[in-house]
Symmetry: D2
Subunit: 355 residues, 4 copies
C-alpha cells in the first residue's frame, strides 16, 4: 500500500484481545469506517466468541478468538499488540519482515535505550535493533514520523497526560525543569482486566491509595519525552494514585515559573490550537475526567495558584483523559490513522459519555 | 466543674445537627460513655425526630430537633457548633459568658488574624476579641492548651491532614519551606449535606475533578499552622480534588529535602510515637483512605521517590484521614475529651470499617 | 416533507436541554448524520453556551441556550421536549398547528386516559384532544404508527424495560397475567439533573433503597401497555429501587407460567428476531446493565428458576437498558428516525461503553 | 464453664481469618469487652502480621497468623470458622471433643439434611452426626437453643434477610406460602476477598447483574427456615443480584396476602418488639442499606403496594442488613454472646456508618 493514498479498508488483527485495551480497540473500531478486524488472538480464549467475553460487542462482530498464528497475522495490513509487556518485542520483527505494520500498546518499544528498558522491565530487550525505528506514537509530538511508519509504540496512559500537560511549558522554557511534580490519579481499569485483590470493588471503592511512590515504570517513559522537550534532563517526581473510578486519568502538574508574568493560558492555547484531541479549557475552568470518558480527548486547564508567603511563582496544569482511549486504544487508532494517511479523527469523533 | 477531675457525665448540645458533621458527632457520641446529648438544634428541622433524618441513629437517641434557644444551650456543659461558617461567632460570646464551653467545627475561630478571616470568608469577624483565646484544636500541636480551654476551634479537614503531614519536617528544618506542594483528594461528603448539582452521584461518580485551584479557604488556615512550625512564612501550593468516594481525605505532600540523607522515616516515627491518633506506617507501606474510614486515625506514610535527572532530593508524605472524623467530628470530640480531662481516646477507639 | 422520502437533513430543536435527557439527545445527535440541531432552549440557562454546561460537547456544537421562543421552534422539522412533566402539553398544540413534528420525552402524552393522567400527575391534561393521536413511541410495538406520525410520546425508562420483558409472554398467553411482579433497579441519573439530597453521592453511593413502593407514576403507563398486550387487565406490582450507579435500569420480571413446559427462550428469540435494539441472550446467560451503557440496546435474558416445594412453574425475565438511551433519548431518536423514514438505527449504532 | 454465669473473658480463635468475615470478626471483637482473641490461623498467611493484611486493625491487635494447629485451637473457649465451605466439618468434631465451642460461619452445619447438603455443595457431609445438634444461629428464631450450645451454624447473608422478612407473615398464615418471591441485591463483598474478574471494580461498578437465577446455594437454607415457619413446604423463587456497593443486602420480598385487610405493619411490630437487632420502620418509611452499614441491625419496612387491575392483594417487605455483620460476623458474635450467657448486644451496639 502506498502511504500517500488512504485505503478504503484496513485489515486488522489484534493480539491479546481479552484485556481492556483489546476490548476497547474493538469497541472503537466498530465505528471506524475503514476498519476491518479480521483476527483477534488469545491463547487463553481460543475458540470462544468475542462477544461472550464482551457482551457490549454482541451484534457488532462475528469473531472468535484464535490462537496466535503468525500466518494469519501476516495477512493483515496492521497488527495491534494489546498484550502485557514482553510479548510484542518477540513477534514484531517477523511481522515487519512480512510487510505488516504494527501498533504496539505495550511498553516494549517506547523506551529508546535498551538498558533503561531492561532496568525497569526486568528483562533484556528482545529486538533492540528496532528501537530506533519505532515511532513513539504521541501524534502531538511525532505526527510527521507517524505517516508511513512501520512500527509505532503507543504511549502509556500516565505518560500521555503528563507529557501533553508539561510539553508546552518545557518547550517554551517557561518553568524550572528540575522541580517538576506530577501528581496523578487513575481509575482502576488502568490495572488491567486481571484478577488482583487490590482491584476488587470491595477493596478499591470508596478509597484513594498512593502507589508506586518508590518508582513506577512510566517514570523513564515520561522523562524521555520531557527531556526531549526541555533539551536537558528534567527533574521529576511522579506519584500515581488509585481512585475509585472505572476509567480516567487526572494528572495534576506542578511547576515553578521562570517568569511570574508569563501568559501560560495563551501558551497552551497556541500550542494546541490545531490539535483535534487536545482541548485547552478557558481560563478559570476545570473539567473532570468524566468529560472525556469514552472519548479520545485530552482536556487541559492551566492555572496560577495564589502565591502565599515565600512561595515562588507557580503554574498548575491539570490534564484529563480516558486511560483506555487517549491513554491507550484511541491513541493507537489515531496513530493507525496517521500511518495510513487517514484523517486522524476517523472513527474517534464521538463525544464523551456524560453523565 | 474543676478541670482536674474528669466528669462522670458531660451534658452536650449540638447546634446545626442536620449536616454531616452534626450527624457524625451523634454517631460517635453514641459510643462515648460520658456523653449525654441533651439538645440538638436546627431551624429547618425543628420538631422532627433526629432518627427520621438519620435512620442509623434509630434506637440510639430519643431526640427531637429544637429551634436554637440560648437558654437550653446555656444549661449544657459543652456546645458543639456544626454550623456553616458565620454562625458560631455570633452566639459563642453569650455562651462563654454563661459558663458553657464551646467546640466550634466551623472556621469562625480558626484564624487568629481577623483581617485574614474577613478576606477569605467575606465578612468581618463578629467576635474578634475571642480569637486570641480560642484554642486551635489540633491535639498533636495544642494538647496543653486544650486542657481547661473554654473555646476550641476544631481544625478543617484538609488542614488536619496537611499539617500532620508537614509539621515534623518543618519543625526539624528538614525541607525547603518555600516550595511545599499539597495535592489533596477529598470524598464528596466534604461538600456537606446540601443539595448541589456538583455533588450528585450522577455528576461526581466515576470522575476526578480539581477545584479551588485559584484559592481555597483552607489555605490561610494551613499556612498559619505551617508558619508556626517553620518559624517563618512557608511557600505552599494547595490543590484540592474531588474524588468519587463518600468519606476520606488523601493528602500527598511534596517537599524538597535540605539533606538528601535525612532519615525521614525515623523523624516521623519519633514525632508521633505517643500520639493515639497518628499512625506512621512502616517504611515502604502505603494505606488507602479506607483504612481510616469511620475512625479518628490519621495514617501517614513517608517515602523518598526515585531521584531522576536534575531533581533535587525529595520527600513524599501521604496522610489519610476520614474527613468527618479526624477531619471534623472525631477530632472535635478528642478536643472535648482533652478539655474535660478525659483520656483523649474516650469513645473514639473503634477500628475503621474495612472493607 | 413527504413521509416517503428520507430527508438529507433534519432541523431540530430541543426544549429544556439542561437536564440529562436533553444533554443525551445532544450527545447522540452529534453522531447522527442527518441531524442538524438548530436551537436548544432553557429559561434558566438562556445566553449560556451549551458546552459550558456539558463539557463533553466542546467542539461538537457551537450552540447557546435561548429562551423558549415559539417562532424559532416552529422553524424546525422536529422539536424534542426534554422538559419535566406538564410543560409539553401546553406548547405542543401550537407547534403541530405550525406543521412541526414533536417527540415528547416527558409523560404528557403517554397515557391515553386523561383522567388517569390527572390522577397520577396532579393536574388536568392541557391537551386531551391530542392523546388519541399521540403515538406511544415504543418501536417494537408501534413501528407502523411511527412512520409519518406528528406527535410521539417517548416511553418512560422503567416502562420500556418492563414492557419489552413482559410483552412476548403476555401476547402468547404464556403466563398468569394477574400476578406479575416487576422488581426494578435504576441508576441515579433517573432522578434527573436536579439538586436533591437523596441523589447526592454521599447519600446514594454504597447503598440500595426501595422507593415508590406505595405507588410510582410509571405504574399506569406500564399497565396500559401490558393490558393491551394481554387483552385484559393485568395484575402487577412494580417496585423500583435506587442503586448506586450513574446509568442503567435492571428489570427483574417474575411471572407464573401457564405451562411449565413452555419454551420461553424460543418465544423471546422469535419475538425479537428482527429488532435492532432488543438482544435476547443465549439461554443461561445474564448481562449487567454495563453491557448497554451508553447504547440504545435492551438486552433480555429468560430463565426458569429451580422449582422448590409448592412453587408453581415460573419464569424470570431480566431486561437491562441505559435509562438515558433506550429508556429516553436514544429511543426518542429511534422514533424520530422512524417518523422521518430513516433506518431506525441511524446514529444509534455505537457499542456500549464497557468497562 | 457454666452456662449460667457469663464469663469475664472469652478466649477466641478464628480459623481462616484472611477473608472478609474473618477480618470483620476482628473488627467487631476489638470493641467487645469480654473478647480475647488468642489465635488467628491461615495457611496462606502464616507468619504474617494481621495488621499487615488489614491496616484498619493497626494498634488494635498484636497478632500474627499461625498455621492451623489443633492444639492451639483446643485451648480456646470458642473457635470461629471463617473458612470456605467444606473445611469446618472436618475439624469441628475434634474441637467439640476437646470441649471447645464452635461458631461456624460457613454453610457446613446449616442444612439439617445431609443429602441436601451434598446436592448443593458437591461433596458428602463429613460430620453428618453433628447436624442434629448444630443450632442454626438465627437468634430471632433459636434464642433458647443458643444458650449453652456447643455448635452453632451462623446463617448465610441472604437467608438472614429473607427469613427475617418472611417469618412473621408465614407464622401468622398471612400470605400464600406457595408463591413467594425474594428479589435480593447484594454488595460485592458477598463474593469474598478472592481475586475474581467479576468482582473487579472495573467490572462490577456502575452496573447491576442478576446471577444464580438458575439456582443459588442459599435456596435450600432459606427454604428450610421458611418451611419450618410455615409448617409446610413453601414455594419460593430467589433471585440474587450483584449491585455496585461494598457491603449490604437489600431483600425485596413479595407475597400475596390471604386477607387484604391484614394489618401487616402491626404484625411485624409485634413480632420484633423485643428484638435488639430487628428494627421495624414506621409505616411508609424505607431505609437504604446504608442505614445499617457496619452495624448488626436488620431494618424492615412493610408496605401494601397499590392494587391495580386483576392483582391479588399483596405485601412487599424490604429487609436491609450489612452482609458482613448481621449477615455474617456480627450475627456470629451475637450467637456467641447468647452461647456464653452474655447480653446479645455486647460489643455490637455501635450505630451504622452514615454517610
Amino acid at each position: 500500500m502506498s502511504a500517500s493514498a488512504a485505503p478504503q479498508s484496513i485489515s486488522i488483527a489484534i493480539v491479546g484481545a481479552t484485556g481492556y485495551t483489546g476490548a476497547e480497540l474493538l469497541r472503537l473500531l466498530a465505528s471506524h469506517p475503514q476498519a476491518n478486524v479480521r483476527a483477534v488472538t488469545s491463547r487463553q480464549a481460543a475458540g470462544q466468541r468475542v462477544d461472550d467475553w464482551f457482551p457490549n460487542l454482541r451484534g457488532h462482530y462475528d469473531l472468535t478468538f484464535s490462537a496466535p498464528d503468525a500466518g494469519a497475522l501476516a495477512a493483515c495490513d496492521v497488527v495491534f499488540f494489546a498484550t502485557p509487556h514482553g510479548t510484542a518485542m518477540h513477534q514484531v520483527p517477523a511481522l515487519l519482515d512480512a510487510g505488516v505494520r504494527v501498533v504496539d500498546l505495550s511498553a516494549d518499544f517506547r523506551i529508546k535505550d535498551a538498558s533503561v528498558f531492561a532496568q525497569w522491565y526486568g528483562e533484556p530487550h528482545a529486538a533492540p535493533d528496532l528501537l530506533a525505528e519505532a515511532v513513539y506514537g504521541l501524534p502531538e509530538v511525532n505526527r510527521a514520523l507517524l505517516r508511513g511508519a512501520r512500527l509505532v509504540a503507543a504511549p502509556g496512559c500516565y505518560p500521555t497526560a503528563v507529557q501533553l500537560g508539561f510539553l508546552p511549558l518545557l518547550r517554551a522554557g517557561a518553568v524550572d525543569a528540575s522541580s517538576l511534580v506530577a501528581d496523578c490519579k487513575s481509575g482502576v481499569s488502568g490495572a488491567g482486566r486481571s484478577a488482583k485483590i487490590g482491584s476488587l470493588l470491595a477493596e478499591a471503592a470508596d478509597s484513594v491509595l498512593a502507589y508506586g511512590v518508590g518508582g513506577h515504570r512510566h517514570l523513564p517513559e515520561i522523562c524521555q519525552g520531557l527531556n526531549a522537550a526541555a533539551g536537558s534532563e528534567v527533574g521529576l517526581v511522579f506519584t500515581p494514585h488509585l481512585v475509585p473510578m472505572i476509567r480516567g486519568i487526572h494528572a495534576t502538574l506542578h511547576a515553578v515559573l521562570t517568569d511570574s508574568a508569563a501568559d501560560v493560558q495563551h501558551l497552551f492555547e497556541r500550542a494546541y490550537a490545531d490539535e483535534p484531541f487536545v482541548d485547552v479549557l478557558p481560563a478559570g475552568a476545570q473539567a473532570g475526567t468524566r468529560s472525556v470518558r469514552g472519548s479520545n480527548m485530552c482536556r487541559i486547564a492551566v492555572a496560577k495558584p495564589p502565591r502565599v508567603g515565600s512561595a515562588p511563582p507557580r503554574v498548575v496544569v491539570t490534564a484529563v483523559e480516558d486511560n483506555l482511549v487517549k491513554g491507550a486504544s484511541g491513541q493507537a487508532i489515531q496513530a493507525m490513522n496517521a500511518m495510513f494517511g487517514l484523517p486522524e479523527v476517523t472513527g474517534l469523533s464521538a463525544p464523551a459519555l456524560l453523565p
